[in-house]
């Protein structure tokens, strides 16, 4: 179904991304360290001097401010500078984000949640599906015009509210402005991979005001299963992918971009997820009583509840009970029988990335990740205990990303990641479909990076072909059956087959 499609598209897109040969001169250089700090601050919602952006009152101007034919509304093909708007409006699903709020699922969701407004008017939905201002969200979309809403996720959703930078950014001195100056005007830098990942994660992982929790899932929202490199490859590029390739080193024909994007995407996604976890833990409301027929769910923001099941792997609970049970036969690894497996989607591969940066050992039993996993395995995790662990882990992830961003990745380093992921994946696949799928997505991305760096993208080496064959086999085991939105067939046999393929990949690289 759409899953299968996504996977297929994703697989080919990642492959294609690697073989596009640059025709343009690269303007890309690594942002200087100072810039990175500044950009990081922007992502955090503060200017370099600590002033909150929220108070600066930047407003959305709408796509009309961008789409002039002479500006971003040209008629070039994908990747053509000057045709960004045209590519987005024709090919990009983000442009349809608002209209889906009128469909049957969205209407049913509003009904089941007893929202006090229909989905297409509820800030709860619009903050992602048609944002009209930067966070923190006012919760008020009443002022927004229908035409603004109809644009769904448009330019400013990612690049920042443009009221104060629209004029300046076409002037000759824009390029000379420091990141701090640009950020002060509300502009969001997306060339830096951490920032770019965080922009995507705002919605695709979630944040305060954009929280897809278990209430929403049970009402019908599709699962969020973000993986930066896959989503990035799938998005119809309104920028030149060769510019990206040139940003990770002097030789854009042997670019480590895909590998770096994967690694930083892993770190940024997890960091965003931890922010959301802390938000959920600190904002739980126990008082919302919805039993009365008339009681409405406030549509302004998702109501934080505790424990939040969306933190746990969906399919750990959502599987029919069967006997004999392969789960019981397999055992529960470090988890207690019947405990919650937390963070099965964004965290299984993370130690491989962090440990390789040499900043911290996340796999150790007393790492913040291990502590957090243990606390979150309890049916009613202690909210206070986990916040400090989450914050510690966030600091580690940010530090790792900074360190990685400044490095020129070598083929050996990337091959090391592949070996690491295939080794971790061998056991992660036994534990969950999430672990298996995350391993597969990661290996697909890293393998692309490795092929690029090694110059074997166009003519895959024998090893590369073997790896591709294994990845393709793994993919077939991950597909959901017709009529299901969960891996109803995922059990001992597929898990073992996937582990065997991962082992083969590992062995090929030895």
């Amino acid at each position: 179904m759409h899953w299968k499609l996504t996977f297929r598209v994703l697989f080919t897109a990642t492959a294609i991304a690697g073989v596009v040969v640059s025709t343009r001169t690269s303007s890309g250089v690594e942002p200087a360290e100072a810039n990175r700090v500044a950009l990081r601050s922007v992502a955090e919602g503060a200017t370099a001097d600590g002033t909150s952006l929220a108070n600066l009152g930047h407003k959305f101007v709408g796509v009309g401010g961008c789409s002039a034919a002479n500006c971003h509304g040209g008629d070039g093909t994908k990747g053509t500078v000057g045709s960004e708007y045209s590519i987005w409006i024709q090919d990009d699903k983000h442009a349809e984000a608002y209209s889906v709020l009128y469909n049957e699922t969205s209407q049913r969701m509003a009904k089941l949640l007893r929202l006090d407004k229909p989905a297409h008017q509820a800030a709860l939905c619009l903050n992602c599906h048609a944002p009209q201002n930067d966070p923190p969200f006012s919760g008020d979309h009443a002022h927004a015009s229908l035409s603004a809403l109809l644009d769904g996720v448009s330019c400013e959703a990612c690049h920042g509210a443009a009221s104060d930078w629209l004029g300046p950014h076409v002037r000759h001195d824009w390029a000379k402005k420091s990141p701090e100056e640009k950020a002060a005007l509300g502009f969001r830098e997306t060339k830096n991979l951490w920032n770019r990942s965080k922009v995507c994660a705002d919605c695709h992982v979630g944040e305060a005001g954009r929280d897809v929790n278990h209430d929403l899932y049970a009402a019908g929202h599709p699962r969020l299963f973000f993986e930066m490199s896959a989503f990035h490859a799938n998005m119809p590029a309104h920028w030149d992918r060769n510019d990206d390739r040139g940003r990770t080193g002097p030789d854009r024909d042997k670019s480590s971009f895909e590998a770096k994007l994967w690694a930083i995407g892993q770190l940024a996604s997890a960091e965003a997820a931890l922010d959301l976890l802390v938000h959920r833990a600190e904002n739980t409301r126990d008082d919302l009583v919805l039993r009365d027929q008339d009681a409405k769910y406030p549509s302004g923001e998702t109501v934080a509840v505790w424990p939040e099941f969306a933190e746990t792997g969906c399919f750990a609970c959502h599987h029919n009970l069967d006997s004999p049970s392969w789960r019981q036969k397999r055992g529960y690894a470090s988890r207690n029988a019947g405990g919650y497996p937390w963070g099965t989607w964004l965290f299984p591969i993370l130690p491989t990335v962090v440990n390789s940066s040499g900043t911290s050992d996340l796999a150790s039993a007393d790492s913040p990740l291990s502590k957090l996993t243990r606390e979150m395995a309890r049916p009613y995790p202690n909210r206070k205990a986990l916040v400090s662990n989450a914050r510690d882990l966030q600091a580690i992830l940010t530090k790792s990303a900074t360190s990685l961003d400044s490095q020129q990745l070598t083929a050996d380093q990337i091959a090391g990641w592949m070996k690491g992921v295939s080794a971790v994946g061998t056991s992660a696949s036994q534990q969950s479909w999430d672990g298996a799928t995350q391993s597969w997505l990661s290996l697909t991305a890293i393998h692309q990076g490795l092929s690029d760096v090694s110059g074997t993208s166009v003519q895959p080496s024998e090893k590369s072909q073997q790896i591709n064959a294994s990845l393709e086999k793994i993919r077939t085991h991950l597909e959901f059956s017709e009529g299901f939105d969960s891996p109803e067939n995922f059990s001992a046999d597929p898990a073992t087959a996937i582990s065997a393929e991962l082992q083969k990949i590992h062995d090929v690289l030895e």
Partner: protein, 565 residues
């Protein structure tokens, strides 16, 4: 052998240590007033606390193989058949302890040892397992417990026997009130359908106070899911090792027995349809015990104990996600989506009790029904407040003075004192077949309904046999002969009329697909292993379709009368 047992028994009876208990008991005499209190009961060692003695103390008498001519036991045969142990030999309860040492027990042991971080962990040394699998009381010492290897045995249900084993076979024992028997001697009044339901449900649903709790950790390690339980069906399939009051025929001190053991009744329980009454009471008590478990878990001292996932409906979370999702299409009633739900099946039969109490008075029924609904709504409201609900509020709603548990207790005891005749059974059946779809959202709820229908329909379709009454001034020999003759009448009726009525009902349910699809016959007895049937039973549970059942129930409503005599 008989001589040996008889001798042994006599020794205990007359031994110096045993004398006090006997003397206290004998103070009653046949004509002693019922209100007179019993002196403190003691066992032969002088202890006043009831102790478990194990199956061995029951075998000498309650074993048919001892023959009919044993003068010590035949007088008792008037009251009870004395073949209980030989029937129990085929009862699944007998396997309860051995199962811990079987394949599944060992597999669970392995997983739990890992979970608990204790490589020496043994299920046979875990009080949480033994509480149900050997009826080990929470405060007892495993090493000292005499009844371990017999699993769930006589005393597990009837109570520790050290204080009553001596006196209980004297006919005068029947004159002591059920309350005194339990409080002073430790004998549990399982003849009372309310108390019996409580006793069965303490394991089959769970009871925190008695340490009988199946946790989610145990389920995840492999414990089979506890199914919904309809008390009479489970009892019949054990199989029963007893006769109802009516089925016993006349026995010595019957009138006194009825007076002291059926308090509050203004009619003779001999006229009750005992099984129908038990179905109705069991239906109320199932919810009572479920809510009690739920609320006790919610406020248990151990902070790890709540939320205990095991008290929530397994299938509310454990289901493959369908695309498109029928659950989302169906909606979540008044609940918010995405919250764990209470089991549905314990609510399935509560309406029967409310209907029985109101009789044909529709206004009274409606008032009661609304009160019940109000209390359930209140419970759901505090449950919905957040996932797993607000523990203190759950406790207050469930256990408060005017709470759900107190309300259900009152309902059960009102049904207990009400006469249940054929007209009531007819009304019960009518109520059952017209229950609305929200009553049977899952397999277990639907099965409760059909089990209840099966029991009530079979009972109402069978006329009770005529037993020979006691004649005036009947000698002991004559009484024994009459008891044996009545036992024959009972056996003939049980295997004749009653079996025939049950067969007719079963045939109807089989024709309708209900017998097979709802797996009405339990893996009872010692021939079946529950774990071996799980692949099929879990499939049946997962494959249940409420729409299908609605049609079946409508068909049953139409054809039900065809099986009456």
């Amino acid at each position: 052998m008989p001589t040996y047992f008889r001798l042994m028994k006599r020794v205990i009876w007359t031994s110096a240590a045993g004398l006090s208990a006997i003397a206290a008991f004998q103070a009653f005499g046949p004509d002693a007033p019922m209100t007179r209190s019993v002196a403190v009961a003691q066992d032969e060692l002088g202890s006043t606390t009831p102790q478990f003695q194990g199956l061995r103390s029951c075998v000498p008498c309650h074993n048919e193989s001892l023959g009919e001519n044993n003068p010590f036991i035949t007088m008792s045969r008037e009251f009870c058949v004395l073949n209980e142990v030989s029937i129990f030999a085929n009862d699944k309860h007998r396997q309860a302890y051995d199962l811990l040492k079987g394949d599944l027990g060992l597999h669970m042991e392995k997983i739990l040892a890992h979970s608990k971080g204790d490589p020496k962990y043994k299920v046979t040394m875990d009080k949480q397992c033994l509480a149900c699998h050997a009826n080990l009381p929470p405060d007892s010492d495993i090493a000292e417990f005499k009844s371990l290897e017999f699993g769930v045995t006589c005393e597990s249900c009837h109570g520790p026997s050290s204080l009553w084993e001596g006196p209980h076979d004297d006919p005068r024992w029947r004159k002591i009130s059920a309350e005194e028997k339990e409080k002073k001697y430790g004998m549990i009044d399982v003849r009372n359908p309310v108390r019996r339901a409580q006793q069965c449900f303490s394991c089959h649903i769970g009871n925190v106070q008695e340490g009988k709790v199946v946790t989610h950790e145990m389920y995840a390690a492999g414990h089979p899911p506890l199914p919904g339980i309809e008390i009479e069906t489970f009892s019949q399939q054990m199989p029963t090792h007893w006769r109802t009051l009516h089925e016993k025929g006349e026995f010595k001190f019957r009138e006194d027995y009825i007076k002291s053991n059926f308090p509050g009744l203004e009619h003779s329980p001999l006229n009750d349809l005992a099984k129908t009454k038990s179905v109705i009471i069991g239906g109320t008590m199932a919810l009572r015990e479920t809510v009690n478990l739920f609320a006790s878990q919610a406020v248990a001292q151990d902070s790890q104990a709540w939320p205990e996932l095991a008290v929530f409906d397994c299938s509310a979370c454990h289901h493959d996600l369908a695309a498109p999702s029928w659950r989302q299409k169906r909606g979540y009633g008044k609940s918010l989506p995405g919250r764990p739900q209470m089991f549905s099946w314990p609510e399935a039969l509560v309406k029967l009790g409310i209907r029985q109490r109101a009789g044909d008075d529709d206004a009274a029924f409606q008032k009661d029904w609304d009160a019940y609904h109000g209390k359930m709504e209140e419970l759901r409201r505090v449950l919905d407040r957040r996932p797993f609900g607000d523990p203190k509020a759950i406790q207050a709603v469930a256990m408060g003075e005017d709470g759900l548990v107190a309300w259900l207790d009152q309902l059960a005891s009102d049904v207990f004192v009400s006469p249940v005749g054929k007209e009531d059974a007819g009304r019960t059946l009518k109520t059952l077949v017209s229950l609305p779809p929200e009553t049977y959202p899952d397999f277990h709820s639907a099965r409760q309904l059909v089990w209840a229908i099966r029991t009530v329909l079979s009972e109402v379709n069978t006329d009770m046999p005529e037993f020979a009454p006691a004649s005036d001034g009947e000698s002991e020999k004559e009484a024994i002969d009459r008891a044996l003759a009545n036992l024959k009448v009972y056996n003939n009726w049980n295997e004749g009329d009653r079996a025939a009525a049950a067969k007719k009902v079963n045939e109807l349910l089989t024709q309708l697909e209900l017998a097979e699809k709802l797996r009405l016959d339990l893996p009872a007895g010692d021939k079946y292993v529950i774990a071996e049937q799980l692949p099929e039973s879990l499939k049946a549970i997962g494959g249940y379709d409420p729409e299908w059942f609605r049609g079946q129930l409508a068909e049953l409503a139409k054809t039900m009368d065809s099986v009456s005599n």
